[in-house]
């Protein structure tokens, strides 16, 4: 990709800045060729990846180098886009929000600094991937489990900072962060929580601080570069029991949620419970064209045929219980009784105990896998995907309302419907997976229009996304409109106070610094 300069920066000044950065990280870790820019682009971009071009990338190897880079960036006015491992796939990957921003790639900072098997935590640098940590736990024979996202190619810290979710009892990843080390926009260094005291022994154990705790301020944020974090890990359970039900009808998701939520709140179910719709099962059996060879959405009549032919429910609910076998059995009885009020048949039951083989693809056992990337194969060609991801209260009223609304809007745009609900307690995350062939302009145009419609109409109904793609960070931000967008105005005031040059991640999550606020797109992307 040809060079796109940062806004209001001359080519000469840009070259001088790169030379200055070379003085910090060495020539080999300043990456600024056309090929480098290609590698820092969104591989699933809905349309041209040139909408979100990086100008270069820098790869520091230490906290001190990050600090030096940030100070130079202030001097040269070169904006930086920090990424941990750059695998934010479906949300923009490692590409920056603002064209011409330099990617600050923290992938070289990949040390596992501490592992405490007694109190169940580790201290990581941002370049540590889920595979790295998993292998370390295996080699150390540490009795600890991670929580992993569906695609575990990325960074443990990066995923948590971007509010990623997993499917174990530790599935709210941002909540597992305890005690951060952060390079501030002026190059200064902060430790959050108890780490604010030099040498404090409880830094990665006590989740608050003395006075306000700033940890969550640095998640989905452009207020600092996280260079180190404590991450809580689940003590490996002695055993586990998995209950699986096929749920026959679309509207059954209402009672499924009303059944699971009270059990979650009561502590009978600990994990994040994932309930995907039928399309998640059909993909086992081939490519889309094997089931429906027309360009428009698979019609309902064909869906019903497919469910019959392949003996599938519209949804599948899986509840995994963790711990002592007798306790799991007792909990399973409670869960089965609750489901038995709605379904005649018993669930499929699978037990697992320490030492048994575990499925290498089971995220509910905290096992990392990158097989998620295979989904591109369903559509064929250069398959891309985006997720429309609103958060709704975990009750049938809200879940059914959300289901009917997104189903209608997606049908109006003639796109296949693939939804899932992940029940996390008082709320559920509804992922609507939208798949497209990047090289099919009609499909891309349709998906973009659909995405705009989903954001707008879902917001009108009182719900918002928890995370979104680069191209929609501004429109989703705009849906947070209480008191004339008071939250955005506060974010901007904080941003301008801490980062007067607007160096760090301009536009991240729709928060723009004064220096670039004129570049904000405060309307739907088109």
């Amino acid at each position: 990709m040809e060079l796109t300069l940062p806004p209001r920066l001359s080519a000469t000044r840009f070259r001088q800045a790169l030379q200055a950065f070379e003085g910090v990280v060495g020539k080999g870790w300043v990456l600024a060729t056309d090929e480098d820019r290609d590698a820092y682009s969104d591989i699933y971009a809905p349309g041209s990846e040139k909408e979100w071009p990086a100008s270069a990338a820098l790869a520091p190897g230490s906290v001190e180098e990050v600090q030096a880079i940030v100070r130079l960036a202030n001097e040269y006015k070169t904006p930086l886009w920090p990424t941990s491992r750059g695998k934010n796939l479906g949300y923009g990957a490692n590409a920056p929000r603002m064209p011409g921003t330099i990617v600050l790639d923290l992938g070289r900072m990949n040390r596992i600094l501490e592992l405490d098997t007694t109190l169940g935590y580790c201290v990581l640098e941002p370049g540590v991937g889920f595979f790295d940590l998993y292998e370390h736990l295996q080699r150390e024979k540490a009795p600890l489990w991670m929580s992993v996202p569906g695609n575990a190619w990325g960074s443990v810290i990066g995923n948590a900072l971007d509010h990623g979710i997993g499917y174990t009892p530790y599935g709210l990843h941002a909540r597992n962060l305890c005690g951060l080390e952060v390079v501030l926009p002026d190059g200064g260094l902060l430790r959050t929580g108890m780490g604010a005291m030099q040498g404090n022994h409880s830094w990665h154990l006590f989740p608050l601080s003395y006075g306000p705790d700033w940890t969550q301020m640095f998640t989905q944020s452009n207020l600092g570069v996280v260079t180190k974090a404590g991450v809580w890990l689940q003590p490996a359970p002695e055993g586990s029991l998995l209950l699986t039900w096929d749920i026959p009808n679309e509207e059954d998701i209402g009672w499924v949620v009303d059944t699971i939520t009270p059990l979650k709140l009561a502590g009978v179910i600990d994990q994040n419970v994932f309930v995907p719709s039928w399309l998640g099962k059909i993909v086992l059996k081939g490519q889309r064209r094997d089931f429906w060879d027309k360009p428009g959405a698979i019609p309902d009549s064909r869906v019903q045929e497919l469910l019959k032919e392949h003996e599938l429910g519209y949804w599948q609910a899986q509840v995994r219980l963790y711990g002592d076998e007798a306790v799991n059995r007792a909990k399973a009885d409670v869960v089965k009784r609750a489901f038995g009020k709605h379904l005649a048949g018993p669930p499929l039951e699978e037990t697992w105990k320490t030492g048994d083989p575990a499925s290498q693809y089971d995220a509910t056992l905290g096992i990392p896998s990158a097989v998620a990337l295979q989904m591109g194969d369903w559509i064929g060609g250069r398959g891309g995907h985006m997720g429309f991801s609103p958060v709704v209260p975990a009750s049938s009223q809200h879940v059914l309302g959300q289901l009917r609304r997104s189903r209608r809007i997606i049908a109006e745009h003639d796109v296949d419907f693939y939804a899932s609900f992940t029940i996390s307690g008082r709320f559920a995350t509804n992922i609507n997976m939208l798949m497209y062939d990047r090289d099919n302009p009609q499909q891309v145009t349709r998906i973009r229009k659909l995405f705009n419609a989903l954001i707008t109409q879902t917001a009108q109904a009182g719900y918002a996304e928890y995370r979104t793609h680069l191209g929609w960070m501004d429109p989703v931000n705009a849906t947070f409109d209480f008191n004339d967008h008071a939250q955005r105005r506060l974010n901007e005031r904080v941003k301008d106070a801490l980062d007067p040059n607007g160096i760090l991640a301009p536009g991240k999550q729709g928060v723009w610094p004064a220096a670039y606020r004129d570049l904000a797109a405060r309307r739907n992307a088109t």
Partner: protein, 138 residues
């Protein structure tokens, strides 16, 4: 190998949220499959040459391209469609790859595979990987 593919294909998961469905456990107790137990990255300056290609491909490519990994699963399917043996889904078993082809695919990506940055795989590391995999010559 075919079975491995079909098991792996049971996912529609993504970074967005979607764990794969687990197949029923079977066989004797095993450690993690190869793609979840990669070789450590060879020590030393990553910008300098002289590292072992086998260790580099295990560490840097293994999460997808060792047995059980998603790249192996997809390539196995493609190879079988082409009438090739399923074992050729594993890159290390390929005899027809040139070094130049390996370098181009790693940097530019292909189908589901994204191009990799020079932080993920340095040029020196890619030279060693290409030398190791490129059994059909330069």
């Amino acid at each position: 190998m075919r079975r491995v593919f079909f098991v792996a294909a049971m996912t529609m998961a993504s970074a967005l949220a979607a764990p794969p469905t687990p197949p029923a456990p079977s066989g004797p107790p095993l450690g993690p499959p190869p793609y979840q137990m990669r070789a450590p990255l060879p020590a030393g300056d990553r910008l300098a040459g002289g590292k072992a290609g086998a260790a580099l491909i295990s560490n840097l490519c293994g999460a997808c391209h060792l047995a059980g990994g998603m790249g192996t699963n997809l390539l196995t399917k493609q190879r079988v469609i082409l009438g090739e043996p399923p074992e050729s889904g594993l890159l290390e078993n390929r005899q027809d790859l040139t070094q130049n082809y390996v370098k181009i695919i790693v940097r530019r990506g292909r189908m589901a595979m994204p191009g990799l940055t020079r932080v993920e795989v340095t040029d020196a590391e890619l030279d060693a990987i290409a030398a190791y995999l490129g059994k059909a010559g330069p």
